[in-house]
Each structure stands twice: as C-alpha cells, then as structure tokens.
C-alpha cells in the first residue's frame, strides 16, 4: 500500500496543478454558487496526493517533472523538494477544512443567488491551482504567470465580498499586486537578457560565477534584477511597509476568503522570496539579508501594535497577519543550523505552516462570531463564551499558536528561531521574537477576556434573538484547523523539519 502510494508520487506534481484547474473550470461551468461538493472531494484527493508527495520526497529526495519532456533550460521543470512538498501539504491541508467550512458558511445564504458564495468555488480552485503551480515551478517566468494567477484569483475573491469597501480593497490589492508582479517581470527580463535562461537550476551557477568575477557588468544587472524581483515579491507578501493593502483586503473579505488569503496566499510570494534568496540570487543578495530582517522586525512590532488598537475583529486578525509574516523574514541572516540542528528555512517553513493553520482557524472563528452576532467590533465579542464555546475555544487555540505558546507549532517554530538567533549571536532578533509573542498575547487576550464576560440577562436574551445558526460543520472545521496548528508542535515538527532539511541532515 505504502509503496504504491510512493510510486504514484511523481504523478502528484502535475496532478496537483491539473486537478484544481479542472475542477475550477468545471465549477465555473456549473455556475453561481455551485461546485462545493466537487471542490471538497477534489481537495481531499489533493491532500492525499500532497501526503504521497511529501512521503516520497522524504524517502527519496526531490522529485522532478519536465513539462513537455524538454527539460530546462528550453522547457519548464517542475521540482518538488522538501520545502515545496511542505508548502503543498500546507495548502491542501488548509484548503480542505476551509472548503468544508465555506460550504457551511455560504450555504445558509442560499436564498441569495448573488451572495458572496456565488463565485467562490471556481476562484478558489484557480487560486489553489496557482499556488500549487507556484510551489512546484522552477522557472522564473513560469513563476510570473503563477503569481498573476494567484494574484488575480485573490483579487476576485476579495471583490466577491460585494460591498463598496470590498471593491475598494480589491482594487488597492490589485494595484499592489500588479506593481509587484511588474517589478518581478522586469527582473526576469533582465536576468534573461544577462544570462539567456529563466530556469533557476541553469541560472544558479551562471549568477554565482558572474558575481564571483569582480567588476563583471552582468553582476550589476543581475543585482538590479534581483532587487526588482525581491521588491516586487515583498510588495505581494505585504512585508512592512508594503503591507498597506493587506488589512482592508483580508479584513474585509468574507471569512473563508480571508482565511484562504491570510493562511496561504501571502505565503506563496514569501516562499518565492526565500526560494530565490537562498537559491539562485544568494550570491547577490546575501549581504543584504539584514534588510528584510529589519523590515520583518518592524512588521512584527507595527502589525501587533495595529492589531492591539484595531476596533474591528477581522481587522485585528488581519493586522496579526501583518505581524506574523514578519517572523518569516527574520531567519534570512540565520543561514545554517542552531543548537537543535534545524536549518533556517526549515524553521521558517514550520512557522509558515503553524501560522497558516492557526490563521485560517482564527479567520474562520472570527467569521462565525461575526455571523452569529451580526456585528464586527471587537467589543461585540463580549459574552461569546456563553453562546459559541467551541468557536471561542477555536479562537483561543489558534491564538495559542500565534502567541507562540506551547505546545503549538508556533511555539516550536519560535523556540527554534530564538535558538538559532542566539546560536548566531543575533540577540536583538531574539528580543524581537519574544516581544512579538507578548504583543500577540495582548491582542489575542483582548478578545478572549471580553469573551468570558457575563452579559446582563436581558442582553443575552436580545442576542439570542438575533443569533443566526452557524452550521456545526463550519464550527468543527475551524476547530480542526486550530487543533492541527497546536498538534503540529507536538507531532509535526520532527517530520516537517526532516522533510525540509532532508533526513539525517543537520545533526548538532
């Protein structure tokens, strides 16, 4: 059984792209509001494929798939290494429960044919396809196309919220995304002009030798290209100070969309930054590693600060994303292994997974709370422990992971990151991580402590009167995501770190 599983794995590379493309197209044909079951079934298959892929990569190292059979540099190669396999796993693992959640969430609006659920399914399908393609691609121009696919699908999903605020947020997001991908495209053009290839594998030695020979003009162009690409991607990643588009887009979209965007979409461009930074562009950018780290630290502090002061619940969660994304950039100068033997990229992956699961759960929980209360202010959470205990518990569990408290995945990542920072002597980084955790506690417990308040009886009555039914399946799916983010710390860390670092690598 297991062996056949692993034998199927090479096929998982193209299938993880083709399958969502196919069901997205089918959902489009099916029409408004339909396709939820299709999407859920397909997402389950994709999750199995992602597991098979991860198992195969863990056993036998990276898998390659040459699209069209040409191979780089003429063709486009798909490559699944540990990092890609981990991100694919995250994407499918978040997508499946979120789809079930979305089905419950949108279902109750069935009476409104033009509700937000209208075009959720095909757009979500293209979004997932785009992300899967992005994680697997090894070709920087192909990556541009996947970036656009992800970006436009995400914008469409934000706009599906329907209100004026959502439209404005979608536009703001669209222009930020287009500016980012434009810069990235120019970088690709320059690299192709300088080296004649868009394949990362081919480019890596060429860039290395160009930057090694002093005074080579190609290196100068390559550096500008690298900066353009990274700047463009940082714009899409909403790294401080490019985060301006994220809070309205993520805070305004319908809950399943916010969850998809915050948990997955921003990770895609960050993944690409890491992949390029630690891969082909490493010789050019390594001296600049402090810059995104500095911005990451600023993001943690600024995002947390804004979350502490946000008045709307979903905006609070969105700003928390701004802050949490900062952690992913802290590790760039920390190449190498810490006292535990986990590499920086493995730790970042762990953090990305923990945050992805937790943030999806938190947005879902926030969505349920808002759905039930009909209001979106943080203060309206008061007394929610009484009415939605499971959802509050979900929110709290997700918060545990975001604060980096044990035994969550966020905690494990934070621990390893601090360990790595200290092993490298980067004390300020460790301090920022600790401070970030405390600030996160402030904004999370801002919500939790209100939730435990007893409301006056009359008010409870009034609330119950207004309360809308949230499907249990939606509540449980949000809970499953939160529980996964916590259990990740206990049981997921070891396999994940081994997956990214390769089995046996980096023993202390």
């Amino acid at each position: 059984m297991t062996e056949r599983f692993v034998m199927l794995a090479p096929l998982a590379l193209p299938l993880l792209i083709l399958l969502p493309l196919a069901w997205a197209a089918l959902a489009f044909v099916l029409g408004a509001g339909r396709g939820s079951r299709l999407a859920i079934a397909a997402a389950a298959v994709q999750l199995v494929l992602a597991f098979a892929l991860a198992a195969a990569v863990m056993d036998g190292g990276p898998l390659h798939h040459a699209a069209g059979g040409w191979g780089a540099p003429l063709g486009i190669d798909l490559v699944a290494d540990g990092l890609a396999a981990a991100m694919l796993l995250l994407t499918q693992a978040v997508a499946l429960p979120l789809f079930i959640f979305a089905r419950g969430y949108f279902h109750q609006d069935g009476a409104h044919p033009d509700a937000a659920g209208h075009h959720f399914w095909p757009l979500a399908g293209f979004l997932v396809a785009g992300m899967n393609a992005l994680y697997l691609s090894e070709d920087i121009f192909n990556l541009y196309v996947t970036l656009e696919l992800v970006g436009l699908a995400a914008v469409g999903l934000v706009a599906s919220g329907g209100g004026a605020a959502q439209t404005a947020a979608a536009l703001r997001y669209l222009f930020a995304a287009l500016l980012g991908s434009g810069a990235y495209l120019l970088g690709v053009a320059l690299l192709y002009g300088a080296f004649g290839s868009v394949s990362m594998v081919t480019l890596t030695p060429l860039i290395a030798s160009a930057s090694a020979s002093a005074g080579a003009e190609a290196a100068e162009v390559a550096l500008i290209a690298a900066l353009l690409m990274v700047a463009g991607l940082l714009m899409k990643s909403a790294l401080f100070p490019f985060h301006f588009w994220l809070p309205p887009a993520h805070g305004g979209a319908p809950a399943p969309v916010s969850a998809l965007l915050s948990a997955l979409v921003v990770k895609a461009s960050i993944y690409l930054v890491l992949r390029l930074w630690l891969g082909p562009l490493a010789p050019l950018l390594t001296p600049l590693a402090w810059l995104p780290t500095l911005l990451g630290a600023a993001a943690i502090l600024w995002g947390s600060w804004q979350a502490i002061h946000a008045e709307r619940l979903k905006l609070l969660v969105a700003y928390s994303t701004v802050a949490q994304l900062g952690y992913l950039f802290l590790a760039l100068p920390l190449v190498g292994v810490g006292s535990t033997g986990a590499s920086a990229s493995a730790i970042v992956t762990l953090q990305a997974l923990a945050h992805g699961l937790a943030k999806a759960a938190m947005f879902a929980a926030a969505g349920i709370i808002i759905h039930a209360t009909g209001r979106d202010r943080v203060d309206d959470v008061a007394g929610i422990a009484e009415r939605l205990p499971l959802t509050l518990f979900t929110f709290a569990l997700a918060g545990v992971s975001l604060m980096g408290l044990p035994p969550s995945g966020g905690f494990l990542a934070k621990w390893l990151l601090i360990d790595l920072a200290m092993a490298r002597g980067h004390w300020p980084l460790a301090a920022v991580i600790l401070a970030g955790g405390l600030l996160a506690a402030i904004y999370i417990f801002r919500v939790l402590r209100l939730a435990f308040l007893n409301l006056p009886e009359a008010m409870i009555e009034a609330e119950h009167h207004k309360a809308r039914v949230v499907p249990r399946s939606a509540e449980w799916m949000a809970f499953a995501l939160a529980a996964a983010s916590v259990l990740l710390g206990l049981f997921g860390g070891l396999p994940l770190l081994q997956l990214v670092d390769g089995v046996g690598a980096g023993t202390p």
């Binding site: 489009f28 003429l74 486009i76 196309v145 469409g156 706009a159 300088a194």
Partner: protein
Amino acid sequence: MKRLAVLTAAAAFAALLIGALLDLPAATLDLRPLLAEAMPVSGVAHPVTAVLLNTRGYDTLLEIAVLLVALLGVVVASARADVTGDPGRTLAPPVATSADPMVSALARLVTPLAVIFAIYVLWAGAHRPGGAFQAAAILAAALVLLHFARIVPACAAPSRGLRIAAVAGFAIFLAIAALPLAGGALLQYPPAAAGLLILAIESGLTVSLALVLAGLFLLLADDPGGRR
C-alpha cells in the same frame, strides 16, 4: 513632496539600470540553437508557436487560466454593481434603439471577413506569425463591433452555454496536457501527433479566448449611448 520623491526614485532607477545595460555583455546562454534542434519534433514550423504551445506550453496553459480568472473577476464585479439595488442597471434591457446604420453595415461586412481572417491566422500560426491568440483577438474585436452594431447585446452574466464555450478551449488544452501523463510528462506530445494536437488546442483556444476576451468587454459594457 511625495511626487517629487517618486519621480526622483524612478529617474534614478532608470538611469542606474540603463547605465548597467549599456555595458551588459552578451547573454551567457543562447536558447536559439536549442530551440532550432527541437523544432523538427515540435509539430509546428513557426518557432514562436513551438515555444508557446510546445516547449513552454505549460506557461500558456496557466495563462489561459489567468484569463478565465479575470473573466470570473469581471463576472463578480458586474454581478451586483450596486449593492443598494437597482437591478435594471446591470441586466441590460433588450436593445431598443437601432444602431448607426453605417456601423451596422460595417459590422455585417466585417464579421465574415474577420472569421475567415481569424481562421487563416490560426492556421498560419503553425508556419508563420499568427496563432490562437491573435485569431481570438480578431474574433473578439468582431464581437465587440457586433455589439456596437446592436447585434450582440451586453450581458450581466454569461449563460451556461457561453460558459461551456468559454471553458471548452481550456478543457481541451487541459485534457491534452494530462493525457501524456499515462506514460510520460505533462504536455509531452508524441512527436508524430504533435502538430495535430497543437492544432486541436489552438482551435479550441481560438473560440474560447475570443469569447473570454469579448466577455471582458461585453460583461461590462453599457449599451452604446448611455445606461438604460
């Protein structure tokens, strides 16, 4: 102040990059010979088409997906253009007023020509400049012209038939991309059938892309001369 800063930054960036480009040596790698070698088995004679639908056909597959996403986005945006109601605003009523007779005549004249030209461009793409996308663009232009001639109405949301037609090309492409997985790689055409398969993909894409491109316009369009 901000404007000045942005302009200065843009100018500095352009100067810096142009300076670097002036000294840029020739590219280290040249794909042209590689592509020339691959041409005989690519199934087409025109190199750009070979790249577009064979060696980098995967790019094109995703590109079509991007177009579909954009169409979806437009559908989303035009579905309920006004949250406060006013449904008549988006569901364009049947065209009452007649179009400019000149436009009408032009449209009637141009459309068949455009179809023929599009078929030519599509077919020619195998050998010389042209191909699915250009053909689709021509067809889309014809559709838009027909709209101006009040022959094709604007629509709020595509009907199922239209949706199927818009997706069909993509579906064919997807199927042909997936089939070789049984024995080889994604989009790895058997060399003997490559030409035929590419033509099949291109034919499907022409129709679908034309609809999608025209859809981008028609979903948004108001009737000429103003709303309602």
